[in-house]
């Protein structure tokens, strides 16, 4: 499921037993990346509990707004700062992704983390996401794509049927996957 960007505002519920402080009136606004608002709220409660001594029953979400991004057909470079719980300890990381939206960039980072470090959604915290101009990118994987005259062949291509109706269980001929053109 594609990731989305949510802006969530919430607060700690006032407790009559506790003396009221000015800080109790504060609303906490966070940008959360998640596949749906339910998961987003869960993540929000988690972060809020890191900041304040709260849990689901002692805090409330005031609003959940999905951010509709503009211009999702332009490729951008994103730098993502994240923190994840590895099997040995907490690790901070800076990663770069090329995507057309922030949410898509974060999604690809989650996939990347799962692939390279076997890190699950729960163990990853996205700290900050920023669009980075090309000349400030660092990672070679991004840099090679930034090359203005990028050009590469597709040496291994598997021809697939153009629709489900045309798929066959058996083929008369072996597929040729090495296209040298």
């Amino acid at each position: 499921m594609p990731f989305k960007q949510y802006v969530i505002v919430g607060r700690r519920l006032p407790d009559p037993k506790r003396p009221h402080k000015a800080a109790d009136d504060a609303l906490y606004k966070m940008i959360i990346y998640a596949p749906d608002p339910i998961k987003a709220k869960s993540k929000y409660y988690y972060f809020l509990s890191q900041l304040l001594k709260t849990k689901r029953s002692t805090a409330e979400v005031v609003s959940v707004t999905e951010v509709q991004e503009r211009n999702t057909t332009r490729v951008k470079n994103y730098t993502v700062w994240l923190r994840y719980q590895s099997r040995t300890g907490q690790v901070n990381m800076l990663k770069e992704a090329r995507a057309t939206s922030v949410a898509a960039a974060v999604e690809s980072i989650y996939q990347d983390m799962a692939g390279r470090h076997r890190a699950r959604y729960e163990s990853i915290q996205i700290l900050r996401v920023q669009e980075t101009p090309s000349n400030q990118c660092k990672r070679p994987a991004t840099l090679q794509m930034i090359d203005p005259h990028i050009r590469f062949p597709l040496p291994h291509k598997l021809q697939r049927a153009s629709s489900r109706a045309l798929r066959t269980t058996f083929k008369a001929k072996l597929p040729v996957t090495t296209i040298t053109k």
């Binding site: 489900r164 109706a165 045309l166 798929r167």
Partner: protein, 113 residues
Amino acid sequence: MAKEPVRLYCKGLVLGYRRSQRRQHPQQARVQIEGVKTRQDTVFYAGKRVAYVYKAKTEKHTRKGTLTRHRCIWGKIIGAHGNTGVVRVKFARNIPPSAFGKRVRVMLYPSNI
């Protein structure tokens, strides 16, 4: 039977009864029609008549009065089964298990084109 000069039916294959793991419904048979690969394709065949033509030992009178060994069980396509183009067919008399894997004719009528 002499080959008919024209083929006005699609070739179908009886796969078995409609069933779950431990229960089967002999009232409905699953039929795979040649060239029908998706659920969307089956829409065209909904309601079409199906004929299971087979040979028996005893000769019977036809309506014309001649004797023939050929018999037929008629059925009707009542809907799709799954997403791979298989259809469910209700036959006038439940189709015998000996018909599994046999050919049925999927007629082009009632037509809606």
